[in-house]
């Protein structure tokens, strides 16, 4: 296992070393703000009774999700999971569609057919997840296999898994197949230290969940998931390796799940001190400081933040204007028709 050093060098130097300019970092920052903003407004909507069912967020994981997605290329496919709203935001899914999804409106990516973060948009390269974890990981492997068969050389798949879900058979079978065939895929483990109420030591017996890599002849990298740049760097390297035919890497992003498993869970089982420690490492605040050191002014920051606020207000309005789906459509669209195949997707 390699551990990426969280470079304590000068911000500008660091960005340069990553091949990024300040604008790129600002974009990441903005995406993180949008991500958190969406989920915070989701909470309010839930409390207002506007979101049916339950409600989940990825608070604390914004840096990891945005960091990974920023290292992907437009032609890549991504299979993110329940804490990865930042991936959708970074790939360009418009916030109103997320709100519409939350509220079961027809404008959401699933047209009210699925809820929460079970979203995706294949035209943005994002495959919508199912609940069963981590069932989408083998799907990512299949995407990577399709690139390999077609000999598409600069295309990479990304598949996610939680620390907890890495105990499931789907993880094993998918990762193993990718390893054996050296497929162009990067696996991301969102290690937020808990699987619902289950602590790590009851989920795996290694130091890191990504140590499972050793059982597949793969390398793993453990990064601080609260630092989008550290995540970006590790993922970019892993992507390079993958598309060069050197096989998959498991990149583990360590964070703390900063809220309960879902809205009904107050996370009583998480030690308070842990929340305090990790609150001090808040990915957004951390990135803000980094940018200020890199030359962003407080005014600029203010502008970004208020821009995000305005955006979300607008987007929420748009979502609320999206009609509920027509009940008569509920049972349609179970089977695809041949014409739909001819639409070139992604």
């Amino acid at each position: 296992m390699a551990t990426a050093a969280s470079a304590e060098t000068d911000p500008r130097t660091r960005l340069r070393a990553l091949g990024l300019d300040r604008e790129d970092a600002v974009t990441m920052y903005r995406n993180m703000l949008v991500t958190r903003g969406i989920e915070e407004r989701g909470h309010i909507l839930f409390r207002q009774g506007k979101i049916p069912g339950s409600f989940y967020t990825g608070r604390g994981n914004e840096g990891a999700a945005v960091g990974v997605a920023s290292a992907t290329k437009p032609q890549d496919h991504l299979c993110p999971l329940q804490r990865d709203m930042g991936v959708h935001v970074t790939r360009g899914l418009e916030p109103w569609r997320v709100f519409a999804q939350y509220m079961g409106r027809s404008g959401g990516p699933t047209r009210g057919r699925d809820g929460n973060v079970h979203i995706g948009d294949i035209s943005l390269g994002i495959v919508g997840m199912v609940s069963h974890l981590p069932a989408m990981l083998p799907v990512g492997v299949g995407l990577a296999l399709s690139y390999r068969i077609k000999n598409e050389r600069d295309r990479c798949a990304f598949a996610w898994c939680g620390d907890g879900a890495s105990a499931r058979g789907d993880f094993h079978e998918g990762v193993n197949l990718a390893a054996v065939r050296k497929l162009p895929i990067v696996f991301i483990i969102d290690n937020n230290q808990w699987a619902y109420s289950t602590p790590s030591n009851l989920g795996y017996a290694t130091e890191h969940p990504s140590d499972r890599a050793k059982g597949y002849g793969l390398q793993n990298v453990v990064v601080d998931g609260t630092d989008p740049l550290e995540v970006y760097e590790a993922v970019k390297e892993a992507r390079d390796k993958a598309v060069a035919g050197e096989g998959p890497t498991i990149v583990e992003c360590v964070t703390l799940r900063m809220e309960g498993h879902a809205v009904h869970d107050d996370a009583f089982y998480v030690p308070k001190e842990d929340f305090e420690t990790w609150a001090a490492k808040d990915p957004i605040e951390r990135t803000r400081k980094f940018l200020l050191e890199a030359g962003m002014s407080e005014d600029e920051d203010e502008e970004i933040r208020s821009g995000v606020k305005r955006l979300l207000v607008e987007q929420l309005d748009k979502a609320e204007a999206s009609p509920l789906p027509d009940p008569s459509t509920a049972t349609t669209g179970v089977y695809a028709s041949p014409e739909e195949l001819d639409t070139p997707h992604h």
Binding site: P52, G53, S131, G164, Y196, S197, L324, A330, T331, V334
Partner: protein, 324 residues
């Protein structure tokens, strides 16, 4: 007798049997400190300890497979699936190993898998499924689906004691909505004995789990119109108390099968077929089925309502049938 919810009754059943029989243990995700996603096992790890209420990794096959093994090792395991939907991840083990081991090897596999099932609250495609039809074609499994708190407790205990793998379908929508009198202490409700939930003379509705309540609601509405509906609560579909169905349909000559699983391929088809095959001379009208539409269960309430069987659908079906 105490009044309690369906959920409390299940908890009671578990606890009382665990106190009585130290071979009983529970394994599942978040069943320990957290007390289970629905709090069915709340407080039980404190009472019974870490090795009788076991928090498992996110591994449905390991959970259910370990139950098969522990049953062979003389225990009386109870597995909790966080939602019935996730039992798909252990479907292979249950149908391949647990269900067939006794037939092949002669070794009983006394285990229970608890399945919080069913829809009606915007759980979406993966937290709303009924799942009975997917197992009903697998000989060796018992499928039990209580509709009342009293049955839930007694059948929980019966499930634990049964020498076979039992799938215990507990309906999430009943957990806190349904209350009832529940006898104190340890008692069992035998499998394969349907219950007449409401007596009637004109039309029989065959139902189980939450649909018993939908049927009863419909029956009450129809009583006002002078249609006297009998509601049969099957309680278990494997074993199936076909005698009870025959008795009721012989009386009413008209039958509706109401089930929450997908209409096509759900177990209601089997029951409808048997009624028509075995009670052919008795029927005054074709059997009708009211069930979930043939599609995944959508999230948005307006869609979900369209897809799941509603009281109004049953009322309408009964009206059509009694006019036949």
């Amino acid at each position: 007798m105490a009044t309690m919810t369906y959920l409390q009754a299940i908890s009671e059943g578990l606890k009382e049997e665990m106190r009585r029989d130290e071979r009983v243990f529970i394994i599942g995700q978040d069943v320990g400190v957290y007390g289970g996603a629905f709090k069915v096992t709340d407080g039980m790890q404190k009472e019974f300890g870490e090795w009788r209420v076991i928090d498992a990794p996110l591994s449905e096959t390991a959970i259910v497979g370990a139950c098969t093994g522990a049953a062979l090792g003389g225990m009386r395991p109870v597995a909790e699936m966080q939602f019935a939907d996730f039992v798909s991840c252990a479907w292979d083990h249950l149908t391949t190993v647990s269900a067939k081991q006794y037939y092949r090897m002669g070794t009983p596999i006394p285990m229970t898998v608890r399945l919080p099932c069913g829809g009606g609250f915007s759980g979406g495609p993966f937290h709303s499924q009924m799942y009975d039809g997917y197992f009903a074609g697998c000989p060796g499994l018992k499928l039990v689906m209580p509709a009342t708190p009293e049955d839930a407790k007694g059948m929980m205990i019966e499930a634990i004691r049964d020498p076979n793998p039992v799938l215990f379908f507990e309906h999430k929508h009943l957990y806190r909505r349904i209350k009832g009198e529940v006898p104190e202490g340890v008692y069992t409700v035998p499998f394969g004995k349907a219950r007449v939930a409401r007596e009637g003379a004109d039309v029989t509705i065959v139902a189980w789990s939450a649909m018993v309540h939908v049927a009863t609601e419909a029956a009450e509405q129809l009583a006002g119109e002078g249609i006297d509906v009998e509601v049969l609560d099957m309680r278990t579909i494997a074993p199936l108390d076909f005698e009870a169905i025959a008795k009721s349909v012989t009386k009413t000559s008209k039958a509706i099968v109401l089930y929450e699983d997908t209409k096509t391929g759900g177990f209601g088809g089997e029951i409808s077929a048997r009624i028509a095959e075995e009670l052919f001379e008795t029927l005054d009208a074709p059997v009708r089925r009211v069930a979930t539409a043939d599609c995944p269960i959508p999230f948005s309430p307006v869609l979900e309502k369209e897809v799941l069987p509603q009281t109004a659908d049953v009322v309408e079906a009964v009206r059509a049938l009694s006019a036949y």
